[in-house]
């Protein structure tokens, strides 16, 4: 019960932070599942991808109403991505989980640096 409540609260927070800063929820979902809910890195990534779907559907709907979405490029990118996805899944599953987790840590550091850099330019 506590775990369910914690997951819902983290979901809300991840979504709100993503919306505020224009980054996806995955950056929060994956470490939350690994560090707080004892998931393995691969399972956390797989589950994060499922969790992302409702978030981007809601966002896409809004952006479509604003007329900002260019559908043809979106479809071409989304459909050709399938080949890349297969390669990504195979790579993730062939790496030792600890290596994958460390790579993810590096990715988070890069995004953090990018956010700080953008903030510095605005201020």
């Amino acid at each position: 019960m506590v775990e369910i409540l914690a997951a819902v609260v983290i979901g809300l927070l991840a979504g709100a932070l993503g919306g505020l800063f224009g980054v996806g929820g995955g950056l929060i979902f994956v470490p939350a599942l690994v560090l707080l809910f004892d998931f393995g890195q691969v399972e956390a990534e797989a589950t994060s991808l499922l969790a992302i779907i409702p978030v981007v559907l809601a966002g896409t709907w809004r952006q479509h109403l604003y007329g900002n979405v260019r559908w043809r490029p979106a479809l071409v990118i989304g459909l050709t991505a399938i080949a890349g996805v297969e390669l990504g899944v195979l790579t993730a599953k062939s790496l030792p989980e600890e290596t994958l987790q460390r790579l993810f840590g590096v990715l988070l550091l890069v995004v953090a640096a990018q956010l700080a850099w953008r903030a510095r330019r605005i201020s």
Partner: protein
């Protein structure tokens, strides 16, 4: 052709890390396809819907997806994202960005050590 290259890169990145891939799609659309920031972010979101779906199916076929937690996180996150986007104009500023960057860096260190 450019979109195919962006799609392949984004799909690989997204599946490897379990993230949407906006971090690569948005800058690539702006740099390689001359999108403005607003349409790059909107178009990237639409593409990520398909990418995340493909990634979920591919991992699910291998038995790696936990549906319960996926929905427990994802459905509230959709609500949170609507709230966060609405707040963006009013509260977003450098201080908040630094705080979020600090949070991500702290999580990174937690993962790395």
């Amino acid at each position: 052709m450019r979109y195919i290259a962006i799609g392949l890169t984004a799909g690989f990145f997204s599946a490897l890390f379990g993230v949407g891939g906006g971090i690569v799609v948005v800058p690539l659309l702006m740099l390689a396809a001359r999108f403005g920031q607003r349409s790059a972010m909107a178009t990237s979101l639409a593409a990520i819907g398909l990418i995340a779906f493909a990634g979920t199916v591919s991992y699910a076929l291998r038995g790696d997806v936990d549906y319960e937690y996926g929905l427990l996180l994802g459905l509230p996150a959709a609500v949170g994202a609507i709230g966060g986007t609405a707040l963006q104009q009013r509260v977003a500023g450098p201080a908040l960005s630094y705080a979020f960057a600090g949070l991500l860096a702290a999580i990174a260190v937690w993962l790395l050590v």
